[in-house]
Amino acid sequence: MIRLDKICVDFGGLRAVDHASFEIGAGRITGLIGPNGAGKTTAFNVIAGAVRPTSGRVILDGRDITRLKPHQRAAAGLARTFQIPHEFDRLSVLENLMAAASAPEGENVINVIFRRGRYAAEEREIYDTARDTIRLLELEHVIDEKAGNLSGGQKKLVELGRALMRKPKVVLLDEIGAGINRTLLGKLADKILMLNRERGLTFCLIEHDLDYVSKLCDHVLVMAQGTLLTEGTVEAVRNDERVIEAYFGGGKYEARL
C-alpha cells in the first residue's frame, strides 16, 4: 500500500530519518514503535507530505507521491492525526469534524453563491457521519464546545475523529493513545479493528503502549535512530534484544493487569 524507499530527512545537520525503507501493507494494521526521537513522526510527515525528504521516494499504491502536496495526498485517500493536536480551535467539535470532510460541491464558490441546492445532500451526509463519529468518541456532551477549550485528551479524540471523516484508504495515527483514558482507548481499538475488518481500511499507528499495539497490530515496525531496526510480530519484537535495549528498558512497571 505505502512504501518508503530509502528515505532520508535532514534537519540542518541532523539526519532524523536515515535511509529508511519499509512498507505498510494494504488492509493491515501496522504498528510503528521506537524510542523517542527515533524519527517516527518524521516518517509520518514524509508520508503525509508535511516534510519533504532529502532523498528517497514515497509510493502509494504503486504511484510515486513524493512530490505531491499534503492536500493532494489527502485527496488520494491518506488521512493522518498529529501527535500534538492541531485542532481548529475556534470551530466547535461538530464543525471540526465536518470541516475535515471532503465537500467538492460545497467548497465550490459558484455553487455556494448561486446554486445552493447542489450541495445540500452532500452536506447532510457529512453531518450524519460527523454525528456518528462524535457518538463513537464519547464527545457528545461537548459537541458545541469550541475545540480550543477542550481537554488534552478530548483534543486527541477530535484529532482521530477528523481523520475518520475523510473516508480514507489509509489512516496514520500518531500516538493517539497518549493521554487517552485506557478504558476509552480500548473501545477505540475495537472500532479500529472493526473499520479494518469491515471496510478494509489500512492503519499505521505510532504508539508507546504495547498492550494497545499488541491488541491491534499483527505486524510491528521498529525504528531507531532514523532507520528500521527490525520488524515482525509483536511477540517477536518484544523478545528482540536490540529492541529491549533501545526501547523497553527493564519492564519494571508492568502495564498488564
Binding site: 499534503p70 489527502a74 488521512a79 485542532e87 470541516a99 465537500a103 455556494v112 457529512i126
Partner: protein, 322 residues
C-alpha cells in the same frame, strides 16, 4: 437646522456609510472568515476607484481614458481590476502569516499609491480625474441625485451582503475558517489552502474595488486624497472590529456606527465656545480616539459577535435548518 438639511445630511451619511459597509463586508470575508490580515485596503480601493473613473469618463488629454462606459460597467471593471490586483498580491503573499501579510499589504498599498501619484499618463497624478459621472445620472439633478445614488449604493450593499452571507454559511466558509484556525491540519484534511486563500483574497479585493468605484462616482472627482490609508484602511478595520468580525450584520452595523461617530462628533465639537473653534478639530480627533477605546473595552467582541452558522439539521429532510 432645518429638516430638509437634516435629510440630505442623513443621505450623505448613509452613502459614505454604505461605501464603508462594502469595505467592511469585504474585509470580513478576508479577515473574519479567512484570517487574512489585509492592511492595504486603500490600495485595492484606489485601484477600483481609478479603474471605474477612467472607464466611465470622457476622453481627457491629461490621463488615460475616453472609454465613456456606463457606470455599472465601470464598477464591473473596478471589481475585475481590483480582483486582478488582489490575485497578483495573493499569488505572492498569501503564504505569509497574518501579521506579515499585514505588513506586506501595507507596503503594496503604499506602492500602489505611489504609482497613482506618479504615473501622470495613467491617472493625471496628483491633479486628479474630474467629471466622473453618476449612475442613472439623468434621473435627478442637484441634491436629489444623492438620493438616487443612495439607493444604488445600498442595492450593491444588499447584493454583496447576500453573497457574503451565503459564503459564510457554507462548507466553503467552514473550510476557510478551518484554514484560518490551523493550516497544517486543514492541509492534512485535503484542503487546498492556497486556492482557498487566493479565492478569499480576490473576492474581498474585488468588493473593495467596487467600493472604490462607488466613491469615485459619488465624489465625481478623484485625486490621491481619496486613498488615504487613515480613512480607508484603518478606519475600516476599526469598523469591523467594533461591529464584530466574522459577522456580516456586524460588519454593516460597525461601518454605520463608526462612520456616524466619526462624522457626528464634528457637529458637537463645532458647538464648543468660539475660543475653541480653531482647536475643535483636534478635540474631535481626541474624542474619536477615546470613543474608540470605549467601544473596544465595552464591546469586546464587537457589537454583534462572531457566531458560527448553525449546522443543525432537521431529523428528516435534506434542507439545512436555519
Amino acid at each position: 437646522m432645518e429638516l430638509t438639511g437634516l435629510f440630505f445630511y442623513l443621505v450623505s451619511l448613509l452613502i459614505l456609510g454604505g461605501i464603508y459597509a462594502l469595505l467592511c463586508l469585504a474585509l470580513n470575508i478576508q479577515w473574519g472568515m479567512g484570517g487574512l490580515f489585509n492592511a492595504g485596503i486603500a490600495g485595492f480601493y484606489g485601484v477600483g476607484a481609478y479603474s471605474s473613473a477612467i472607464l466611465t469618463t470622457a476622453a481627457s488629454s491629461r490621463h488615460l481614458g475616453g472609454y465613456g462606459l456606463p457606470v455599472p460597467l465601470g464598477l464591473v471593471g473596478a471589481a475585475i481590476l481590483a480582483g486582478l490586483a488582489g490575485w497578483a498580491v495573493a499569488k505572492i503573499c498569501v503564504r505569509l502569516k497574518s501579521d506579515y501579510l499585514a505588513m506586506a499589504s501595507i507596503g503594496i498599498a503604499e506602492i500602489l499609491r505611489l504609482v497613482i501619484v506618479n504615473e501622470d499618463w495613467l491617472t493625471n497624478g496628483s491633479l486628479g480625474v474630474s467629471r466622473i459621472p453618476r449612475p442613472l445620472g439623468d434621473l435627478a439633478t442637484g441634491r436629489m441625485s444623492d438620493v438616487v445614488f443612495l439607493g444604488f449604493v445600498w442595492l450593491v450593499v444588499l447584493l454583496v451582503f447576500v453573497a457574503s452571507s451565503r459564503l459564510y454559511d457554507s462548507p466553503w466558509g467552514r473550510s476557510l475558517r478551518a484554514i484560518r484556525d490551523n493550516e497544517t491540519s486543514a492541509a492534512a484534511a485535503g484542503k487546498n489552502i492556497e486556492k482557498f486563500r487566493i479565492q478569499t483574497f480576490v473576492i474581498g479585493c474585488a468588493v473593495m474595488g467596487i467600493a472604490g468605484g462607488l466613491s469615485a462616482h459619488y465624489f465625481r472627482f478623484l485625486s490621491p486624497t481619496a486613498t488615504d490609508p487613515l480613512l480607508v484602511t484603518f478606519l475600516v478595520w476599526v469598523m469591523l472590529m467594533a461591529g464584530g468580525s466574522g459577522n456580516n450584520k456586524g460588519a454593516i452595523l460597525g461601518a454605520l456606527a463608526i462612520w456616524t461617530l466619526w462624522s457626528v462628533t464634528e457637529i458637537f465639537t463645532n458647538r464648543l465656545p468660539p475660543e475653541w473653534a480653531t482647536r475643535s478639530s483636534f478635540i474631535r480627533m481626541l474624542l474619536v480616539g477615546l470613543l474608540l477605546q470605549v467601544v473596544l473595552q465595552r464591546f469586546r467582541a464587537g457589537l454583534i459577535p462572531e457566531k458560527s452558522p448553525p449546522v443543525r439539521f432537521k431529523e428528516e429532510g435534506p434542507e439545512p435548518d436555519r
